[in-house]
């Protein structure tokens, strides 16, 4: 691994800036058949809630032009089993693990985050305040800055690990939201979650998804992600994890040049289980060809 790719994110050292997105890599071991997990920069686990959740009724996915809709609805086994089964396994790896937290109330977020922090098995937490598939809760924290900031303050009080806040691209004023979250003590931002979307079966006059609406991901949303990262970067100095529609090293570097310190690959894992490895390889070649000392030189290097 080329040491020029190493980055530091809120005190966590990553061997390279290529992570995987929450919800698209399972509990980590599954993709071990396709790649060496320890060659990744970090892994973000699927969002967990306090109690197990069954998720949304099927069908849950639909392909769209250069993208896909999903309405998984946070199906997960609950934080306790997650810590005992998944985190226990993952913490044996030489790999920073960021645990994603979801909830329907401030109390639930604080409780789940607290238990994860106490477990000592997560390098950091990501607060998923923007899941478009959860009907109750979530939305208000995600789009309204006062609620989001209060949540961060409360979680920070309770936890001893860095806190990243994952935002929806629908945040009306991304720059202001980023600034206020930084002031509230967020250690970093994760941009972006899926974009609310929907598809219709015109023959059957039915929605394509059992939950009617879902979240749009994949290459289609990449320009939205780049704009979100750049807008936030104009206002804050804290680390940003950029994601949304990354498919190759070029689309990954677009987010870095726009202001992301690291990137996360989601939907592309489904298309190509080795996408992350190819992206890391492409970044190595780029850094080499450009004679850069470290990839960090590219972060926010956009000249406007």
């Amino acid at each position: 691994m080329d040491s020029r790719l190493a980055v530091e994110l809120a005190g966590i050292r990553l061997r390279n800036p290529v992570m995987v997105c929450s919800g698209t890599f399972g509990s980590g071991s599954e993709y071990g058949d396709f790649l060496d997990l320890e060659s990744l920069g970090a892994l973000v686990t699927k969002s967990v809630t306090l109690n197990p959740r069954a998720g949304n009724p099927p069908p849950r996915i639909w392909e769209t032009p250069s993208g896909m809709l999903n309405s998984i609805g946070l199906e997960n086994k609950g934080v306790e089993r997650f810590i005992q089964e998944d985190l226990a396994h993952l913490s044996a790896l030489e790999l920073p693990v960021i645990a994603s937290v979801a909830g329907s109330s401030v109390e639930e977020y604080v409780e789940v985050a607290g238990r994860l922090s106490d477990s000592g098995r997560a390098s950091a937490l990501e607060l998923n305040v923007s899941c478009p598939n959860v009907k109750r809760g979530g939305v208000e924290f995600g789009l309204e800055s006062q609620a989001a900031c209060e949540l961060v303050t409360r979680v920070k009080e309770r936890c001893g690990v860095p806190i990243f806040v994952k935002l929806s691209p629908l945040v009306p004023d991304m720059g202001a939201m980023a600034r206020l979250l930084q002031e509230a003590g967020a250690d970093g931002l994760s941009l972006i979650n899926t974009v609310p979307g929907m598809a219709v079966d015109i023959e059957g006059k039915k929605p394509r998804l059992g939950a009617v609406t879902g979240g749009l991901s994949g290459p289609a949303i990449h320009p939205i992600a780049v704009r979100s990262v750049w807008t936030a970067r104009q206002q804050v100095g804290i680390p940003i994890i950029g994601m949304g529609g990354i498919t190759d090293w070029r689309s990954a570097l677009e987010l870095i040049v726009a202001g992301a310190n690291a990137v996360a690959v989601g939907t592309a894992n489904f298309t190509d289980p080795q996408a992350t490895i190819k992206i890391i390889g492409g970044m190595e070649s780029f850094v080499q060809a450009r004679g850069l000392d470290r990839i960090g030189e590219l972060v926010g290097s956009l000249r406007v």
């Binding site: 919800g23 698209t24 890599f25 399972g26 509990s27 599954e30 993709y31 058949d33 396709f34 069954a54 998720g55 009724p57 099927p58 069908p59 849950r60 996915i61 639909w62 392909e63 769209t64 250069s66 993208g67 896909m68 999903n70 998984i72 199906e75 059992g210 994949g218 290459p219 939907t267 894992n269 489904f270 298309t271 190509d272 289980p273 080795q274």
Partner: protein, 262 residues
């Protein structure tokens, strides 16, 4: 390593179906398992497409593909020498040990995993089990019925009576169960057909293993995209790609929109 790029060795056209033979290195697949195929070259489609494995022997894999949309249309355009990117074998296949006198029931391309199963059972037991196959019309799969009749113990039902019995494969199943003594059913086909299976197997108190379809993203159990409804509890789901595609019939919630919800 369950990912590979296999060269297309043979393409045979059977009406709406294409039978592909793809080169694979030392792949051990069970009937009921599937291959997850990347469709499109320069900018491939975001989601892979799942297809049951129809055969796995002699360093090659057989797939039966029917064109229903853009992904399968792309596949249908592949020629000998082209390469296919696939993850395989995935999923949990049929349990071959559970029944002594099994009956196999297929609808449309549901034939693929059951043909594979029939050949494996034949190899294990010395004789071919009976396979019932339902089609809309005898022409749908071109010369395939004729070929299969020579190959396995096959009965056909067509909705228009153009080949075999006139009626659905469920009608055929009804008369077959009345006629002979079976102790288990293997089935694969459209959800409506599988749903209609229920009353018959319950009437004859037969256990049934069924292979079902659902849209997939990852294909390996990580995304929870391929959920189908579990019987018994409200709001409880199983993943087709990992816990299936083969399930015990009674584990799924039939009726209504079916386990797949579409």
């Amino acid at each position: 390593m369950p990912r590979f790029e296999g060269e297309v060795l043979e393409v045979r056209e059977y009406g709406q179906g294409r039978l592909f033979r793809v080169a694979v290195d030392s792949l051990a697949a069970q009937p009921g398992q599937f291959a997850h195929l990347l469709c499109g070259e320069d900018s491939p489609r975001t989601l892979r497409r799942p297809f049951s494995i129809m055969d796995c022997s002699d360093g090659s894999l057989g797939l039966l593909v029917k064109v229903v949309g853009e992904g399968t249309a792309w596949l249908a355009g592949r020629r000998v020498g082209d390469r296919l990117d696939m993850l395989a074998p995935l999923g949990r296949g049929f349990n071959l040990e559970l029944y002594e006198r099994p009956l196999l029931v297929a609808g449309g391309t549901g034939l693929a995993p059951l043909h594979f199963l029939a050949k494996r059972l034949e190899a294990a037991k010395g004789h071919s089990p009976r396979l019932l196959w339902g089609l809309s019309c005898g022409e749908d799969f071109g010369a395939m019925p004729a070929w299969l009749e020579r190959d396995i113990d096959l009965s056909i039902a067509t909705c228009d009576g153009s080949a075999g019995m006139e009626g659905t494969v469920i009608d055929l199943l009804g008369s077959e169960l009345a006629r002979a003594d079976y102790d288990g059913v293997f089935a694969c086909g459209p959800e409506a057909m599988l749903d209609a299976l229920g009353p018959l197997i319950r009437k004859h108190a037969l256990p049934c293993q069924v292979s079902v379809e659902q849209r997939m993203a990852c294909g390996i159990g990580v995304c929870f995209g391929c959920a189908v409804k579990k019987s018994g509890e409200e709001q409880s789901y199983l993943r087709v790609c990992l816990e299936g595609p083969v399930f015990d019939y009674s584990d799924l919630a039939w009726g209504g929109d079916g386990p797949g919800g579409a």
